[in-house]
Symmetry: C2
Subunit: 413 residues, 2 copies
């Protein structure tokens, strides 16, 4: 899946030969970069005065004024409500047009399907969800997602700009017999979404990514790890997966399948895993493991919350289960910290609550196993964006295209 | 150690606000990029005709001609020996001036100290080494390295250009009592090298990095993984460490300590490790483990080669030791493949020979434990550059500065 995510990355790296811009395109390229930088600033940080943009972007006042005027003319920002700067001059405030410029975000989760319109600036304008029937593949779910989106379309103003469609797909899906299967986004899914969301003749560009990767991006842009450039986001649902961000860039791997941390073998003597291996991290820290250790049926709906409540109330079996899972959580985190040396590990999905319930145990195990220089500075953080993280991250995928070339999309859409 | 390696990376990534170039600098910036692209091409691929450079870099003929002339005037390339193009026109060949433009490369290995002059184009012009006395710290070794470099200086022509000094430092060093200690490059080391190699008033810029990271870079630029953008390079010496390259960029981690894969815990019931933990990968696949399983004294000089020879000759204890180590090697590789999803894993240092002796076992274990989609395409490769990899990679660090701005360094040095 690298191609759909590649908009997130600058091209190149040292050993590759950079594609040099031709001389003729240079002024246009610089203007595009500057427009993108300004729009990104208000997208990430919210309404900002021209004076502050001047300081933040290192451009002069007249350039900022011209860029803001161009973005306003394209309907991407508004300018107004001047504030007075320290020098006593009034400075117009540039605000993203969140209610007009939006991304269509979709998520295909093990047990739920969700669709949202997310405005520039990351505001959730509308959101619908529905249970995902067991046994439905990601492609099967597209019709339902299109119906959810269609419901929302009634409230969309005629002059709105949809900048793109992006979908976050969990890598595990539940078969009709309750078994978990490892999947992920593929070309067929993108084509199906393109067909369902297009105008019947030409489908729109659809960006797709692994749910944990996309939730990681959301937590990095505007969540728990907003100030952190090197992070591992761990997502717990029926499986365990990770999004890895290095120097502010999502690491997707050669085949788009990086972060399958649930299938690191941590316990060679452990239980068989759905993937065919044995003792995978998932078999020790997955939702089913927690429920099993607590003496519950692994298929219980909302079982994780029930066990955590019971542990908080002092039920011995639940308490022991939480401690055991937290201990293995710390074990795997230690390995990842040694391999990746991140500045933060963020716990999301159902692992957020598990982490909060067993934070001391996780930290203790990490301190015992990881190299001091790698673990001492590492922050362990609960995810901040809740269940919307995947939708917010998917919207960021779509906005990345707008931010790369604001006027092209702004005027063409 | 991120700062010394940062020259390897483009700045930015999606969520960060890019620093937009100012308009005034743009033509100069484009020329600098194009000069760098041309010089990089001949640095990596060797002598190349202007006609081929025109095709490869996507620039027009007159631009290539002007860039090549500028680089020739700065003494970085020569032009000559025209070849005839398919269109029948003669085209000058641009050749890097390897013998005139060089990097001072150093490596501090557990048992050896090495210094080399490496010419533009990656040619080893001169190389000296000496055993590293047990118990000497990396800083202690600087005087010896400076003496080796001083010896080589006698043969350097007066008009040579030294583009920089870079050092590859192993993360494990041997104490006087034979114990292994985990270290790595630090500010003190860079300062000591700057003082020893400077002119007494101002020290030169010294780039430093972890030996496995730097050897990974070398194998990526001009070794076993020259066509691979997502790779893990595993380096075996007294410890086991990795260099991770994602999309052609070295991943160094928040504190420059990524790739400490030798300290992933793979066997919770395993042996205590030097790092204070237990069952680390190093305790199963390190040189000492191989020797111990083969019934040898773990401190035997060249013990790894001796065990591998004995295994090739059919000695049962040696054969069993190689199989056991290869099995654990495959185990850890499977975990890394699941986490990072690389296109290739390269085995270097003493792990190169261990891998070659047990390749079937490594692959079998990988196939058993890793997810099919992640392992099916992954290439397992022996390193190609031998013991010079760290020096060649260190030189690449120094050349990265030259390639980023050829005329600045070319004329100023």
């Amino acid at each position: 899946m690298r191609p759909p995510l590649s908009a997130l990355h600058r091209t190149g790296g040292t050993p590759a030969v950079p594609a040099p811009p031709t001389s003729g395109a240079s002024q246009e390229e610089i203007r595009r970069q500057n427009l993108g930088a300004l729009l990104r600033h208000v997208h990430v940080h919210g309404p900002t005065s021209r004076a502050e943009l001047t300081a933040r972007l290192g451009l002069n006042r007249s350039t900022i004024g011209a860029l803001a005027a161009d973005l306003a003319a394209a309907g991407l920002v508004t300018e107004g409500a001047p504030v007075t700067t320290r020098r006593g001059r009034p400075s117009l405030v540039v605000t993203p047009r969140s209610s007009r410029v939006y991304a269509q975000a979709l998520s295909i989760e093990p047990d739920k399907l969700r669709a949202a319109r997310i405005g520039l600036g990351g505001r959730v304008l509308d959101l619908r969800d529905t249970p995902r029937p067991a046994g439905t593949s990601a492609v099967d779910a597209v019709g339902t997602l299109a119906a959810l989106a269609h419901e929302m379309d009634r409230d969309v103003a005629a002059d709105s700009i949809r900048v793109g469609i992006a979908v976050a797909v969990t890598d595990t899906t539940r078969d009709r017999d309750g078994r978990v299967r490892i999947g992920g986004p593929d070309e067929r899914l993108r084509a199906a979404i393109g067909a369902a969301f297009g105008d019947g003749r030409t489908g729109p560009t659809v960006l797709a990514g692994d749910l944990a990767d996309i939730a990681a991006l959301a937590e990095h842009v505007r969540g728990a790890a907003a100030d952190v450039d090197d992070l591992i986001y761990l997502h717990g649902s029926s499986g365990v997966s990770a999004g890895i961000i290095i120097e502010g860039r999502l690491v997707v791997g050669h085949g788009g399948r990086s972060g399958k941390v649930g299938h690191m073998v941590v316990n060679p003597d452990g239980l068989p895993c759905e993937c065919g291996s044995r003792g995978c991290w998932e078999t020790e820290i997955g939702e089913a493991a927690l429920l099993r250790h607590a003496g519950r049926d692994p298929g219980t709906p909302d079982g994780v919350s029930e066990v955590l409540r019971a542990a908080a109330d002092g039920e011995p079996a639940a308490t022991a289960a939480v401690e055991r899972v937290a201990d293995w959580l710390g074990f795997g985190v230690a390995n990842l910290v040694n391999v990746v040396n991140p500045d933060a590990v963020v716990f999301g999905g159902s692992l957020r609550e598990v982490y909060l319930a067993g934070a001391d145990v996780v930290r203790r195990r990490l301190d015992e196993l990881a190299l001091p220089a790698s673990r001492e500075h590492v922050q362990l953080l609960p995810a901040a964006l809740g269940p919307d993280a995947a939708l917010i991250g998917a919207a960021e995928l779509a906005f990345a295209h707008l931010l790369a070339d604001p006027l092209h999309i702004g005027t063409a859409a």
